[in-house]
């Protein structure tokens, strides 16, 4: 028994050493694998929780990108669109806390884009509480709050701090096997930023805004894919049902895509992607999507005290 215990522990140590040394400083000493041009079918990587198999990685555009678009098209600051700041304790369930951390993250970006740094600072305190409830290290927020308070007049710096906070929170949750919470944060942020666009579209008829809504067709597919990966116990069934209903509306969006050869400029480490695309959705479809987004958001932000 003892010898098998030593054997298995040896395997464990070798596993750790193998994984830790994969970025060896001396590539020549490493095993050679097949050529990158190999036509053999490639196996899928294990997922980001490291012990799962067959996962894909999904990206959702940052809510900051949409907030920037809203400012660019001339949307005026409208605080009534944002989720009112409530005591973080009113979101008592972890899933709800995560979703609203995503919502407030989008609101934070919106405040910053419109130079409302004092209000953003107040909101940051609420996000800190929600983050702490989710187990995100308070040290992450502590450092950021200090940098934030020291740069209140510098919008670009504040935007960098907030985007960095979001990335570090995401990294922290994924390292701690809490991808389900990470998915809920992304879900909340995505719904909130789409809510901004659909609300603004009611008073401002703008092609870029309308296009931004239509462009969410594939993003929604990615979001559903990501949440589905976290739904082995069925606890996100209701959310997925709502998102699939929304997907049915997005299926009516007419989208076109034409490939054009990209131009690469090696000296600038830059590739210009010249492909063309378009999306079309009429007023009725815009309203249908907008209503569904509003309903999703209401479910997310409703507190236990409501």
């Amino acid at each position: 028994m003892k010898s098998s215990l030593y054997f298995l522990l040896s395997i464990a140590i070798i596993s750790v050493l193998t994984l830790s040394s994969c970025g060896s400083e001396d590539p020549k000493n490493m095993d050679s694998g097949p050529s990158s041009e190999s036509s053999e079918p490639k196996a899928k990587a294990s997922g980001s929780s490291l012990l799962k198999v067959g996962d894909k990685l999904f990206n959702l555009p940052s809510p900051l990108e949409t907030a920037m678009l809203i400012e660019e098209v001339g949307g005026h600051f409208n605080e009534s669109m944002l989720n009112p700041v409530v005591d973080a304790g009113q979101y008592s369930v972890k899933i709800k806390q995560a979703m609203n951390l995503g919502v407030y993250g989008a609101d934070l970006g919106y405040y910053l884009i419109y130079n409302q740094s004092q209000k953003a600072c107040t909101l940051l305190a609420t996000t800190k509480k929600l983050g702490a409830e989710l187990g995100i290290s308070p040290a992450l927020y502590k450092g950021l709050m200090k940098r934030f308070e020291g740069n209140m007049e510098n919008k670009d710096s504040l935007l960098i701090f907030v985007s960095e906070l979001n990335r570090l929170s995401d990294e922290y949750l994924k390292e701690n096997e809490s991808e389900d919470l990470s998915a809920m944060i992304l879900y909340g942020g995505w719904v909130e930023s789409l809510y901004f666009v659909s609300e603004l579209s009611k008073s401002l008829d703008n092609d870029a805004l309308r296009a931004r809504v239509g462009e969410q067709k594939n993003t929604l597919v990615n979001l559903i894919g990501f949440i589905t990966l976290q739904n082995s116990d069925g606890r996100f069934d209701d959310i997925l049902a709502s998102l699939n209903d929304l997907k049915a509306s997005f299926a009516k969006v007419n989208s076109t895509y034409s490939y054009f050869e990209p131009e690469t400029k090696p000296d600038q480490k830059l590739t210009i992607i010249k492909s063309k695309s378009s999306v079309e959705l009429d007023n009725a479809l815009m309203e249908e999507i907008s209503n569904k987004i509003t309903a999703l958001r209401k479910n997310i932000i409703t507190t236990s005290a409501s």
Partner: protein, 136 residues
């Protein structure tokens, strides 16, 4: 007893891999300069031999994105390719010494598939980290 040992083995392997991912993420973050805002997400996958991590994203028109891909503790260990939704190849970094980061100026919104794998001469296994930043 056997189950307990197995759990210990898996736990140790997981801790080692997680620690390596953290180091790789720190290395990779240096490629997202202050000119770019992080998209707020952290993408990582444990890659073995010739496995490929697939990563789906939407890139908005009028935006320039920076994609950084890393594995291990030094640059150039990760190869990545960017395809459009019709599988037209848009870029591959192995034509540029496995450049750890590259910028993409996007004229019109498109959905892309990014595939990442270890450079065969860089190692047989490792944690791949991809980060994305943007500016308008």
């Amino acid at each position: 007893m056997r189950n307990l040992i197995l759990i210990c083995v898996l736990f140790l392997a997981s801790v080692g891999a997680n620690a390596q991912c953290e180091i790789t993420a720190d290395v990779c973050q240096t490629h997202i300069s202050s000119q770019y805002l992080s998209d707020g997400q952290h993408y990582r996958a444990l890659l073995l031999s010739d496995q490929v991590a697939e990563f789906n994203a939407t890139l908005y028109g009028g935006t320039t994105y920076r994609l950084a891909g890393c594995s291990g503790t030094q640059d150039g260990n990760l190869q990545y390719r960017v395809f459009d939704s019709q599988r037209n190849l848009l870029f591959k970094n192995d034509e540029f010494q496995n450049a750890p980061h590259w910028d993409f100026q996007v004229e019109a919104t498109l959905d892309v598939i990014i595939e990442a794998q270890l450079d065969p001469i860089a190692g047989a296994s490792g944690c791949a980290v991809m980060l994305m930043g943007f500016r308008r």
